[in-house]
Symmetry: C2
Subunit: 289 residues, 2 copies
Amino acid sequence: MSSLVLKGKPVANSIKKITEEMIAADDLKPTLAVIIVGHDPASEYYVENIAKQGEKLGIAVILKKFESIDLAGLIHEIKQCNENDNISAIMIQKPLPKNIDEKVINSIISPDKDVDGLNPLNAGNLYLGQECFIPCTAESVLEIIKFYGIQTQSKHIVVVGRSNVIGKPIANLFLHKSPTGDATVTVCHSKTKNIENYTKQADILVTAVGRPNMIKKEMIKENCVIIDAGINEISKENDKNTFVGDVDYQDCLDKCEAITPVPGGVGSVTTTVLLHHVVRSAKKIKKKE
Amino acid sequence: MSSLVLKGKPVANSIKKITEEMIAADDLKPTLAVIIVGHDPASEYYVENIAKQGEKLGIAVILKKFESIDLAGLIHEIKQCNENDNISAIMIQKPLPKNIDEKVINSIISPDKDVDGLNPLNAGNLYLGQECFIPCTAESVLEIIKFYGIQTQSKHIVVVGRSNVIGKPIANLFLHKSPTGDATVTVCHSKTKNIENYTKQADILVTAVGRPNMIKKEMIKENCVIIDAGINEISKENDKNTFVGDVDYQDCLDKCEAITPVPGGVGSVTTTVLLHHVVRSAKKIKKKE
């Protein structure tokens, strides 16, 4: 019996459609400001992709690049974006140089424009089950679950990873009284002993830990659903870089009921979720005018 | 072999000592404003107790009682307290009448004076592992764990209950990289099926669900630690009201390694934690002056 492959593309397409309809319905001019400090090729590639996808949907992406900047300067830039009604949303590309305290930066971005869901107020509203911007990767996991009609109520969901941008938010979201919630949730991480004791119990296993192929067939339950939010770059023998997930896809494929591929799974939904957030923000600003 | 009874009183005394030292060191005049709307005997008794304990420590408690008030009026009262430097901290006694939206109220209290940790910004900082006011009952659980030197790292902690004031915050706190964190955490609740499958796995079991005596001996692991944050009022045969926890204390006593009694456990620490928060807030305001 072959497993269902939970591809991200149809999920992204469905969100794109809704996003385009929102733009058309209110004649919005959504604009995302992306602040980049220094050089990081992976990061620049990611932002280029956002700009390209944004253009297709009718979302402007303004790049604000700085060779270097101090904390005060960066705060000033962000505050200008906060106050500018022509900017719907703000994204600060990570990693930031060491002289910049990310916590301070996250708390400066206006919660209303914080489409990455990094401001503590968005984090608090997420965790209290109130309206907010959810970090894009965590929301992508929910979107995949919704799109493929995966039931979460009363299921045991095991989340591997406790980061502020994926593990923690997704674990909290699964606890809410909601159509993608009401699950019993276990969170494992680097300090968990005998992690397979937990992963083996999972009806739904969500990984976001950054360890290539760590989850093997012996560690999962027959007919579980696997959502792999890990994206790890590995060098193969021919020196060509390849991306793999936290789950050994080939090893687990026949044992699970459904699995997201890497690449082509969670990662192919996140940019669309981000752009959808930009449009939500633009709509909110327009309503206030 | 008899189990260790994790009494709350010595924990509270230790926090009181630190609190008194803080007041003396900076010659603080900590003042808590408690806003009460309507009549609720249990709630009034609780507030009287706070005032009495506060007086002993040198903390003034100002009661602001309203027979009834509308949302706008209550918001106005809270804002006045936010702006008044003579008020160190604000507590809004629950339950509030139905015409008042608690979410709105929680978001109005200045995060700096929100000693109950209800403002979404405090919730967000808690969940991100940043400085904040932790809801008092959740913090009391941590204080008990610290006081009795209970190790949490790599332990499996099962939390029964997913409320915003106990279950969710305590679950998130146990995940942090901290001396009372680094645990593998499972959260169960009303939608969990076969809850004993989870409670039986717990090295540390934390209950906060409001169901009298629901946890029986058969549902726990030999030599586990039980922290019972449930306080349930039951009527005994002689019509005298008695309080019991979520755990059947007598039934579980000999099987576990340690257990908090009800009453006399978690509940006897919370008021002291609240008053400690008031002093923290007073100190912060004084430093700003």
